[in-house]
Amino acid sequence: MAKPKIAVFKFSSCAGCQLSILNIEDHLLDVAGAVDIAYCVMAKRENREGPYDIGFVEGAVTSPKELLELKKIREECKVLVALGTCACFGGLPSIKNFAGPQREMEERVYTELWDLKSIPAHGIDYYVKVDAYLRGCAIDVGELVQLVKSALLGVNPHFRPHSVCNECKLKENVCLLVNKGKPCMGSVTAAGCDALCPSLGRPCEGCRGPANDANAASLARTFSVDLGLSRDDVRRKFLKYAGNTPEFKKGAEAV
């Protein structure tokens, strides 16, 4: 079997997920041996044209230009992977979708408005078909390696769409919400990060987006009634990374 040709593209994002790819020192050489990285501007000086077997797209789509590029990428890639929360759900760039009228917000940020061509920030599956999702801000490199292996084997990867609580409890962390009264999003957020933040004593921020059958409205009530968070704080919690998803939107609108 010829080595699959891989391409990595970047839209509106911080490039942290791409950096995570380069950070997998333990696996990088092995992975690089198993695949042919044909296009990755961050890592290579010489990049080759498509078509590609697997395309990784980082970042949210926030301009018409990106949208056109995305459509071309979709045509060029047999398998298209959303790399990181921005590409999956809109991520941090999508906060702007919920911050009031677009022009008003642009005025608050930029002085020269005449050349701005910005559209609401969405994950790439808002526009094109996506074959696999690597969630997280940033992605979990273990999941990335697993995805590559699964693609090479031709099987569905075993990702964990259940809550972060499961991984957190398996590590026997003291519960930040129940025992410490902190507004942790773990119970409605998809696992796969090995409960990274709660294990370090920081409440889950929900960066991996909604877990399967997430009941965000119920958690929002807990934040509001039991923890005393203001309505705006609760909204911000659920709109920070995945406010575009219907699940977290329900949380944002619950109180």
Partner: protein, 634 residues
């Protein structure tokens, strides 16, 4: 007979623990931030015997959160076992957790005993600690699983002030107690007083004579919808539960894509994807149904399945729940506002205990002898075990299944589509829809796969003898029924009239078409065919319409007849309804159900429908036995 009892002065605890540590690892309750966990004990000072409860139960030392079943290299070669099990002592286990282990023993040590759980159980000394103060959320006295223990320990300690009374529960315990002074009458009185005082202080209680009956009468109750709104579906209640046993089995490979391991990891019925099968079909998508499954399983199903308590009242699910969902409160709420009482019949599984000589997790190598394309996506594979002795000894009932493995890809339950009358091989008819079946589709004659089985209860071919048989199949549902046809064909004089009704989506989706003529030639046998649609250009001289439209053409009548059916659940639903309307009774109707049968041996829990394990109680069921399950089928 009075229990042998000694005393251990608290001042001597350090020496006692040091002695234990001489030849095994000691684990006990230790502090973690504001809570407690079971962890390694370096010295007695680490032990916090004043603990109320721990985040995870000591179950984790027996049914590990992740346990490697074996390591492999290539599709069928096993290269190693899981972790070696050393000798260990669990110090200070509360009665609820000890009773939970006794319940788990029923799951893991009966019907295909699990070698990993058993090795850990046999290598562990349990030193229990009776409770002299109630914990915040416990309700153990509801089930007599606390505050004092009466079995399941090697030694049991009770704190009576400056010393512990030490009761002996096993020969091994007696050895460990060697050198301790005997307990005096006053010590024993002090112990009983302490335990009675604790018992009286436990106010949380599930007080219902027959929880199974109460819950079954209240399957529909506003409380469940209320809980659905509250529950976060995070699964914490099951992760911290000392009796939850469900797990998932997945293969993980290294970057060679060939070598790797097959571990099992804890799973939870509270997760949406718990019951998911190929093509993303989820059998229990509704959160309220999943909450019911958990509560029913704890308070009644476990007892029905294993004759042991499914809840020991440890209170962990309450303490750790963000929404404080509480079994005691749920039962109280239902009791306060119950549905009118009605008679309920609780499901009991068929009595069946299997103890194989080898590990139930290790598949046998089987060679693909022949491959025959049935339809565009469905293929019949003829297998024979690589070891002729295994093949010779291999026999099975019509309608049962095997677990087919390709290491690195996974394992899938597939019904056997041949009849055991054929001795030198067996068939599987497989539609390529998931990871394993798609990988199978790439294999060729001579390739080797792993096979475990046979598992389950098949069609009632014995009971059918002397009776007329009506067989109704839909689509790929004919595969597990083909053995019945072959079986009857070989014993034609032992059965009455035989009618086969077979429907498929289109003529091109029909299986075993080259055998139809042979089936038609079986004496006193009629084959009726139907399809939902006939695409343009396809010739079709038979019925068009769903399979139930054949009922008006068939000669079968309820008298002295057994009906067997397999197909999509929606089809079986209408077949059963149609036949009931024609005077058949639920006692005459047999159906084959599909669920996620991940392990096949009544361990992983994925295939449960209410109290039913489809893998071992079925997959073939008498409709009368399952039609009134709390978790509705059809």
């Amino acid at each position: 007979m009075p229990v042998e009892a000694f005393v251990l002065p608290k001042a001597d605890l350090g020496g006692f623990v040091a002695k234990l540590k001489a030849d095994c690892e000691v684990f006990g309750p230790v502090a973690k931030d504001t809570e407690f966990v079971f962890g390694p004990v370096a010295a007695a000072e680490d032990l916090r015997l004043d603990y109320d409860t721990t985040i995870l139960p000591p179950k984790k030392y027996f049914h590990r959160p992740m346990e490697t079943l074996f390591k492999f290299d290539g599709a069928v070669e096993i290269t190693g076992e899981g972790e070696e099990v050393g000798k260990q002592v669990l110090f200070g286990v509360h009665p609820c957790d000890i009773n939970a282990l006794l319940s788990l023993d029923r799951v893991f040590l009966e019907t295909y005993p699990d070698p990993y759980y058993r090795a850990r159980r046999e290598n562990t000394v349990i030193i229990g600690l009776n409770c002299i103060a109630p914990c915040e959320n416990g309700f153990c006295s509801s089930f007599n699983t606390g505050p004092a223990m009466d079995k399941g320990f090697d030694l049991a300690l009770t704190d009576i002030g400056d010393k512990y009374v030490v009761e002996v529960g096993s020969a091994q315990g007696k050895e460990l107690a060697a050198g301790l002074a005997a307990a005096s009458e006053a010590d024993l009185i002090a112990k009983n007083q302490a335990l009675r005082a604790c018992q009286q202080k436990i106010t949380r209680r599930i007080d219902v004579e027959n929880p199974g009956e109460l819950l079954h009468q209240n399957v529909e109750h506003p409380k469940w919808e209320e809980l659905k709104e509250e529950c976060l579906a995070c699964g914490t209640c099951t992760t911290v539960c000392p009796t939850c046993f469900c797990f998932g089995v997945k293969d993980y490979v290294d970057l060679s894509l060939k070598a790797g391991e097959r571990p099992r990891t804890w799973d939870s019925c509270m997760f949406y994807e718990f019951s998911r099968v190929a093509m993303d079909h989820v059998f229990r998508p509704d959160r309220a149904a999943r909450i019911k499954q958990r509560i029913f399983h704890k308070l009644t199903y476990f007892n029905q399945q294993f004759e042991a308590p499914g809840c020991v009242g440890c209170g962990r699910c309450v303490s750790t729940c963000v929404k404080s969902i509480d079994p005691v409160e749920i039962v109280n709420a239902i009791q306060a506002n119950p549905n009118p009482p009605r008679e309920v019949k609780l499901y009991t599984p068929p009595a069946k205990k299997v103890t194989p000589e080898t590990s139930p997790w290790v598949p046998q190598k089987a060679v693909i002898k022949a491959i025959k394309q049935q339809t565009k996506d469905t293929t019949t594979y003829t297998f024979a075990f690589a070891d002729p002795k295994v093949q010779e000894a291999y026999t099975y009932d019509p309608g049962v299944f095997n677990e087919i493995s390709i290491f690195g890809i996974g394992e899938a339950p597939i019904s056997i589509s041949s009849c055991a009358d054929v001795k030198d091989s067996f068939d599987h008819t497989i539609r390529a829809v998931g990871n394993v079946t798609n990988a199978l589709a790439k294999l060729q004659v001579g390739d080797i796969v792993g096979i475990r089985g046979p598992y389950g209860v098949g069609w009632p071919v014995e009971e059918m003898k002397g009776k007329n048989v009506l067989l109704v199949a839909g689509g790929i549902g004919l595969a597990p029924l083909r053995p019945v046809i072959k079986y009857i064909q070989a014993r034609r004089d032992q059965y009455g009239d035989f009618e086969i009704l077979y429907g498929a989506r289109t003529p091109n989706d029909m299986l075993f078409t080259d055998e139809f003529d042979e089936w038609r030639k079986i004496p006193n046998t009629r084959l009726y065919l139907t399809v939902d649609i006939v695409p343009p250009g396809v010739e079709w001289g038979h019925n068009i319409g769903v399979v139930t439209t054949l009922f008006d053409k068939m000669a079968s009548r309820p008298e002295n007849t057994i009906m067997v059916t397999c197909g999509p659940e929606i089809m079986m639903k209408f077949v059963v309804r149609g036949l009931l309307a024609r005077g058949f009774s639920p006692e005459q109707i047999y159906v084959s159900l599909e669920r996620r049968m991940s392990c096949g041996i009544k361990k992983c829990g994925n295939c449960q429908i209410g109290p039913v394990f489809v893998c071992q109680d079925g997959p073939v069921f008498k409709y009368a036995d399952i039609k009134d399950l709390p978790e509705e089928i059809f």
